[in-house]
Amino acid sequence: MDGDGPPMSVRERQLRIVEAVLFASPEPLSLADIAPYVGEGADMSSLIEALRTQYAGRGVNLVRRGDRWAFRTAEDLGFLLRREEEETRPLSRAALETLAIIAYHQPTTRAEIEEVRGVAVGKGTLDLLMEAGWVRMRGRRRTPGRPVTYGTTEGFLDHFSLESLTDLPGLDELKGAGLLSSRLPASLQIPLPFDGDLREDEDPLDPDDQGDSGTERE
């Protein structure tokens, strides 16, 4: 196949074989594993050593694992192979609504959120808000079923440029801004969000509390 090049020395050829065998192997190989491919009388140690030197500064190195050998991505480039890409995506309406309710009604439970929303809140939605760093599990309500209570985080305040939860506009301000219509029943109340440590009806979470393990609801 390689007819054009200059004649290859025996050693050069042996090096190529060791290189190819190591490259193709899913497992690190011992010298004894490689030797049959290279043929009789090859000085395996010196071949490996030569190959190791050739690859020393490259993006891939020949490394020793016990008494076996393998190609591995150069250590200083390992981080490259696990690349992270960020993309900005708008929050879904369901997530936004859930977040808003948690912000105003905290500490609040999933059942309470559902009561305000009028529809079920998927666990995925809460997970997403927690993953976004805006919502956290605060504790468990001291009521039957001990539901998890949710609240917002510092990250939430940061993202929305709020100094504290008390900066969230109240009923009159919402009306004044035209966000709430003025033809609402007098009974409508907007709660004052609570951002203290724990309310008197909340228990702290155990360190290993995984939250509501409840089945996925949507």
Partner: protein, 259 residues
């Protein structure tokens, strides 16, 4: 058939062997023809299509004598080759519009060459180093993991809007639409016709409607619809209308027929 397939690349055409009277080893008539052609041991380009056709027909004939079931497509090919043979042997009449025997033979030759070419190509492909057999990818590949981290975005306004909208949706507002009685023009016209009857006297509209106007909230619609209908009745020559002063009573009577 499958066993024959497995080693077809290695197996040379059977040369001078006695023909097996068995078509099961062939993948169709073209395959059989190609095999017969290759037994002529010459380049396909210089093959005698006429003798090929004869061989095929002999083959099929032998098969049938041996009471072997011969598939329909082999018989179709046999019929076509018999036709080809006749065209090759009989000179073409000038008036003949059909393709000449030579043309048909060339076409068959082309198809045989093409099939053989593809077989050779398949063999050469298979003879190349194949991935996982002679040529290898990195054995200990490392998956390139790209974790896509979503950065969620929401504005403060959207947040407040989302909250307000939900609370508004959730708060049950008592609302009963105001239901108005409406006299349709059709109704008003019928009532007016009935009330005026044959009266030749000038009588005020409100007077006719006195009975209905008792309900205050209905007054506007009754007056409006009745007046509108009365104009229509005037236009049709049914009644006459008179008003002697602005805001004065509107008087109506049956239209008088001129004697």
């Amino acid at each position: 058939m499958s066993e024959q397939q497995a080693d077809w690349l290695e197996s040379e055409p059977a040369g001078a062997e006695v023909l097996h009277v068995d078509v099961r080893g062939y993948e169709g008539p073209l395959d059989l023809l190609l095999d017969l052609a290759r037994r002529q041991k010459v380049d396909l380009a210089s093959i005698s299509i006429l003798s090929l056709a004869e061989q095929y027909l002999d083959f099929i004939e032998t098969a049938r004598e041996g009471r072997l079931e011969v598939a329909a497509d082999y018989l179709v090919m046999a019929a076509w080759l018999a036709y080809l043979k006749s065209r090759l042997m009989v000179p073409q009449a000038p008036s003949d519009e059909e393709p000449s025997g030579e043309m048909l033979a060339a076409m068959l030759q082309f198809r045989l060459k093409r099939l053989e070419a593809m077989r050779l190509a398949a063999g050469r492909l298979l003879g190349r180093g194949q991935l996982g057999r002679e040529i290898f990818a990195r054995g200990a590949g490392e998956a390139l993991v790209v974790t896509r981290k979503a950065r969620w975005e929401a504005s403060y306004y959207e947040l407040l809007k989302a909250y307000s909208a939900q609370r508004e949706r959730g708060s049950v507002t008592e609302y009963k639409p105001f239901v108005r009685t409406v006299w349709s023009l059709q109704d008003a016209r019928e009532i007016l016709q009935r009330l005026i009857g044959d009266s030749a006297e000038w009588i005020a509209m409100d007077h006719y409607l006195a009975e209905y106007l008792a309900i205050p909230k209905d007054r506007s619609t009754i007056r409006a619809s009745t007046f509108a209908s009365s104009l229509e009745l005037v236009r049709q020559g049914e009644i006459e209308i008179r008003q002697s002063e602005t805001f004065g009573p509107i008087l109506m009577r049956r239209k008088q027929v001129q004697q």
